[in-house]
Each structure stands twice: as C-alpha cells, then as structure tokens.
C-alpha cells in the first residue's frame, strides 16, 4: 500500500511537469503580449525594448521556460501582469477561499440530498416516488446552473428579500451560490446511486441477507449502500474538483470574488504567470483528488486492497 502510494506520488509530479511544459509553450504561441499593445505602440522602439526586457520577455522562449521552472521549484510562481505586481500565489490563495466554501457546501448538500433521493428511488423502484425523483434529477442535469442561479437570485434575493442578492459580505452570501451549484450535483448523484443500488439489490447476497431475516433498513444501509458507493466515489472526485474550483457563471451572477473567471480573464490578457499558476494548481488539485479517491476505493472495497501489485 505504502509503495503504491509512493509510486503514485512520483507519477503525480511527472504529470504536473508535462502539463506545465505543454501549457507554457502553448501559451507562448498565443498571439499578442501581456501588455496593452495599443498603448505600447505609442512608445519608441527603445522604450518598448526596455519594457519587454523588464519582464524577461525579450529572451528566447526556451530560456524563459527554464527560468520559470527554476523559480517554480523554489516555490515562486511569479507575479501577475494583469493584476499588476500581485504575486500569483496570493491571487490564487485569496480567490480559492470563496470558491472552495461555495463548492464544499454545494458538494455536501448535493451528496446528502442526492444519496437520499437515489436510495429512495431505488428502494421504491417503479413507483410514483421513483418517477418524481428521476424527474427532479433530469431537471437538475438539463437546466444550466446559471438559470437556477438567476431564478434563486430573483426569488430569494429580490422578491422575498430573504438572502443577499449578491456580493460576498457575510455567511448568508454563500447560501444562494451554493444552492445553485448543488442542483447539478444532486441530480448526478441521485441518478448514479439509483442505478447502482438497483444492480446491487438484485445480487445474490442481498437475497441471502433477506433470507437471514435482516430488516430492510439494515440490508439497505449495510449491504446495498456500501457496495453501490464505489462508482459514486469515482464521479464524486470529478464533481468535487469541478465545483471547488469555481463556476464562472454562478460566481459572476452572485459577484462572488472567486477563482471561476480567473482563467478566462488571464488567458485573454496573456497573463503568463497567472495562467501557468492556475494550470498547475488545477492539475495538482485534480491529481491529488484522484489519488485520494483511489486510496478510498481500498477502504470501501477490500477486494481492491488484496489485489497483488504486478511487479
């Protein structure tokens, strides 16, 4: 187990290096520079040369690449050009907080509600309750979250005045964005749990449990749910990363100072260091979450733990 995790960590760093390299060269092949070209063109050639030099942009791309790598290994992700002079690290640190809070709440609500709906639907298979649940989850998947966000904002914020319309001023500000984001999560989880439960409920060991005379609740919680959690865990990783790293639409509708729009804004502005910092952050986060999920598999399903390593 230890060896397995170690190996995975080494792979993790290789993956990050590849991603970083690819992003670096792709990004530098985008047209334009990090500066407002219309403004720069008012400067004399000598002045232009100086401004490029002060950002190290006058050097060949491969030299910039190795310099950047060197800095990253020392933990320095550089400073942003769009948010002039702000260290990339502090931009990420301040932006991730609101996004993560909204995201965690959305995942928790989504997971809780989704699980309940899924289990109920499976248990009451082919009854009105099942159909209702599935209608809810089809809606949740097909209605885009910005529509939900705008609707919630109008109803709870403007019409009834129960929660803040927008801004990020107190805990109450995080409720509506979290709810808006959790809709999709609920739908996805509910559908997954239902399908898995239905398969599991037809297994022989469930029949066996019934034959032993266990109560339906016990069968459901002890035997069925645990075994249907495995695939749910797989998508939960992707959902978590997706939701925690912010949603462009929901964040801009509620004016949440999150990380959602940062990618789009910085790519548009050719803000090289922030684009790279973000990419590294996203991929590191993703890879780590995948690792955690893989480890969790072993916890949930002992069979995986027992599988011998190939070498």
């Amino acid at each position: 187990m230890k060896k397995y995790i170690l190996k995975r960590i080494v792979y993790l760093f290789v993956t990050l290096l590849v991603i970083m390299t690819a992003t670096f060269f792709l990004m530098h092949s985008l047209p334009g520079t990090p500066f407002d070209e219309d403004k720069i063109s008012s400067l004399s050639p000598a002045q232009q040369q100086q401004i490029y030099a002060s950002y190290g942009l006058d050097q060949p791309v491969y030299i910039q690449y190795f310099k950047y790598l060197g800095n990253v290994f020392q933990g320095d992700f550089g400073t942003s050009t769009l948010y002039s002079g702000q260290p990339v690290k502090s931009i990420l640190a301040s932006r991730i907080v609101p996004s993560a809070l909204v995201g965690i709440q959305a995942v928790l609500v989504g997971l809780a509600v989704g699980l309940v709906l899924g289990v109920v639907a499976a248990y009451k298979h082919n009854t009105p309750l099942d159909y209702l649940t599935m209608i809810v989850s089809v809606l949740g998947i097909s209605v885009p979250n910005f529509v939900v966000a705008a609707l919630l904002q109008y109803l709870f914020g403007l019409k009834w005045g129960l929660l803040p319309v927008a801004y990020w001023e107190s805990y109450a500000s995080s409720v509506l964005p979290s709810l808006a984001l959790s809709f999709g999560v609920v739908a996805q989880i509910a559908r997954f749990v239902r399908t898995e439960m239905l398969t599991v409920l037809q297994q022989d060991y469930i029949l066996m449990a019934k034959a032993k005379g266990l109560s339906p609740a016990k069968i459901l919680m002890r035997h069925a749910l645990r075994n249907s959690m495995l695939p749910v865990l797989t998508i939960l990783g992707a959902i978590t990363v997706n939701v925690l790293t912010g949603s462009l639409a929901v964040e801009s509708i509620y004016s949440v100072p999150g990380i959602g729009s940062l990618f789009v804004d910085t790519i548009k502005a050719n803000d090289y260091s922030t684009i790279l910092g973000l990419t590294v952050f996203y991929s590191a986060f993703y890879v780590v979450v995948i690792l955690i999920i893989d480890v969790l598999y072993c916890v949930i399903d002992p069979r995986i733990r027992l599988a011998p390593a190939k070498e």
Binding site: S84, G85, L111, S255
Partner: protein, 549 residues
Amino acid sequence: MKKIAAAVLTMALLLSAATGCNSFTGNSAEPASQAGSGAAKPTSVSFYLENEIPTLNQFAASDNIAFTVLNNISEGLYRLDMNDEPQPALAESCKVSDDKLTYTFTLRDGLKFSNGDAITSKVFRETWLEQMKADAKNGYAFILTDYIVNGQEYSEKKVGADQVGIETPDDKTLVVKLKAPTPYFLSLTTFVPYYAVDMSFYQKQGASYALGKDNLVYSGPYMVTQFDAASGVTLVKNPNYWDKDNVKVDTVNIKIIKEQSTALNLYKAGQLSRVKLSATDVPSYKSSKEFTTHTIFRTNFIQFNTTAEGTKNLNIRKALSMAVDNNTLVNTILNNGSEAANGVVPKSMSSGIAGKTFGSLQGTLMSYNAEKAKEYWKKGVEELGGQVPQMTLVLDDDTENKDVGTYLQSQFKSVLGIDVNLDSKTKEARRSLMKTGKYQMGLNAWGADYDDPMTYLQIWTENTNSFRGNFKDTEAADAYVKLIEEAHAERDTAKRADLLVQAEKSLVVDNAVVAPLYYIGSAYLVKPNVKNLVEPDSGILELKYTEVD
C-alpha cells in the same frame, strides 16, 4: 461507511472553518444612497465596476477601471470640474509663458498626503520621473515623455534626471518646460498618470506597494478602507484633503459586478445608486425618470488596410465607408446610448479654441449615400481590372462587435451586393493580425487619453500599431504626417485647429483610411437622490462633487 462519512464531514468542517471566516468583506452598512435627513447621519453612495480592479498602483494602472478608483483617491495639479474644464487642484495657479513652452505651477499651502507627508513640488517631479521610465508598468511613459523637454531622452536613458525639463526652485513651485506648445497640457495634468504619489512611501513599500489598503497613501478626496481586487473597494473622506469641506459624501462603495442582470437586481433592491442598462433593457426603462444616456471619448471605426487586396483601391474604400448607415446602426442595432460618428474625433472634443468644439469646426464628414457608394464601387472594380474583390472583416469575438459586424455584412450586401466574410478573433489575435497588416478591414476602437484631437489623429503617424492600416510611404500618407507635424509645431491655436480639421478630413474622406461608426455610449438608471455625479468624456468617474439627499 461511518468512518468515511465522518472523515468527509471533518474535512469539510475544517476547510470551511479555515477558509470561511476571513474571506467575507463585511456588510457595506446601510443600503446605498439612502441618506439620512439630518447632517448627523452619514451619507453613502454605491457604484460598481464591470470588471476586477487590476491594480491601484498608479505606475501600473492603464485602464478605466483602475483609473476610476485612482482618480478619486489621488489628486493632480488640476482636476476636471463639473463642466469638464480643468481647474486648479493641488496647484493654486499656473502661469504660462508667452511662448507657451514654460508652465509655472504654484502649489497650495500646507498640502498633505493621508499619512501626513507633505505634498511638495519635489513630489511631483519624482513621480513624473518615475512614470517617464520606459519600463513603467502601465506603458504610459509616452504621456509625459511626448511633451516634456528631454523626457524621451531620459526615458531611453540617454540623459540624466537633472536635464529633464521639470524644475523645483522651491517646495511650492514646479516649473515644467515643454518641447512644443501644447494647448491641452493643463487637461493632461488632470489625468491619473500625472497625479502625485508619495515617493518616499512608495520606495519604502517596494514590491508590496498598493497591494492592500495599508500599502497606499492618498492625496485625493477619498481614501480606501477596504480593498479586494475581485469584490471592490470602500472609500471614505480623506481628512487631510485640502478641499475636504466640499466633499459631501461620507462613504463610497465601489463593487465589482460582472453580470448586468445582477446589477439591475441590486439597483432595484436599492443597493446601487446607478446601473448600466443592456440594450435589451433600454426599451422597458426608456420612459423612466431615472433613465439617462452618456457617451464617452471612444470611437469605433472600420480600419482599412491600404495595401491589401481590394482595399488598396481608394474608390473601393470610399464605397465601403459610404455604404454604412451609422444612424441605423446606433438607433436600431446598438440601442445603448451610443451616438453616430461623424469622424474619428468625437464632436464634443475641445478644439483648443475657447468655447469651440472640434465638431463645430469640422462640419459633416460622413454621410450615408447608397447611390454614391455604388458608383465608387463600380469605379473601383473597373480600376482593379473588373475583378470583384473578396472581402473579409476581422473583429473581436464579443457580442457588441459581432452585432456591428453582422449589420455591416448585411449593409454591404444590400448596398454593394457583395458577400463580406466575418472573421472573429480574440482581441489579442485581432490586434496582432492588424499590427502585421494581414487583413483587409478590421473593427477597431480608440479611446482618448486627453481632451484634444491629437490623441486620435496622431495614431496614424506612429511606427507600427494596429491602426496604421499600412497608410504610409505614399504621397497621401506623407502629406498626412506633414499636417500632424505642422500642427504639433503650430503656436497659434486657431491655425493649429485648422490643420487638425484638414488632417481628419484627409484621413476619413480624401483617403478613406478609416470609416468611423459610432461614439460609444451607455444608458443608465440613476437614483433620483444622487446629484452631481460627473462622468467626464474620458469615462473615468468623478465622485468629488457627488451629493446625496
């Protein structure tokens, strides 16, 4: 199962505990613009910016968002009054020499930054020298080096600071020597890059300057009490401001709202004092008492490439410019408060002659004429050997530009009977295409840096930019450059204005290098209790005079 659930819950709790507490910006107190009846109750107004605040470092700020905040927390020698005229601010007065080359500013007594540091003429000299450095992050070095004696040379590190034409005989006197007479120099000093920065504080702060509210010092009407690039700023009155008695509002909230519908909801909920309307909302609010429109000094136009296939022919360019009906474009397509353009220079721009706008001197340049457009097109096609050229228009990939592009496409089709391709690209990609001259026509825009036609007309004389359209090395282009050079050297304001009028005519009519489309405007709703909210033509909000009742 329980273990996992417990683990997930603990993790979540820990995370939200660790993250949640400090990230909220706190309540912005009472609803905006609901000022108290008596003097005792503090007054506040709330505005918003449509994108995040890139920086509050004056040497790095280059867009209207940063300028809007900086303009209200810093101050220059002069400041625009409610009629857009420069009035003495930190300077008490200014004497201009007879040859119009030497400006002697006298500062007010007892000026102080918010931290108590004195504002002296040396502060201005040091600030300006810093801004003149070529690697000043905002790329705005030219806004000083173009005018001040030896500025360019200092910027290119050819001469020392002592040879630059900024002198400080004593703490209250600032003498500025200009290369050429500049009728708009006083209005330049109302522009943020000319404002005073506490240089000793700036140097002490080093890389952390302006990163937070405590890393800044203020010379303007307000100071920052809360600053977050992504959620906005809160401003309060600066107690050390020289004219603090005339600042009527205690608190100004400036939020970041990227979504127009959110802003409108907040306005309806009474949390914003002013909201910008999208074109689709304009019809439903047009009759409201709170409805206003406002154009700024920013012109959108078609830039022709004078050496590309097809557009190299003058008659083809003339035909294309005449085929566009700017009034229809503005009134039915955009419908957002924009105004049909007559030339590249906005009509209300100052001509340098007191009391006369440039528009009043220029008269009508552009008019839609389908018949003439057809004639020119026929002539042009003949000159090109009978071959009808295939045309492509490059444009930015945002909604407004796409709407305009589609309109142009349909107009070219109905008037000239040609199919024009639209090629939408990111701004950077479009600029880089246009800079390297690989295009036929492009949608482009330019906003004024100062209140003088030169800010527009000069860009067709510079080395390489995305505007030139390869309009160079021909007789006509040389004649244009000559007009601009003569205007630069002319000391008589009337003659200078006339040269600029000729230059614009040559650019737009005689050579059809550009086809002006519209001056960008916006439609707003403003709460009736907000008075004297001034938005100068630069589009940079002026909040000093704002009152709430």
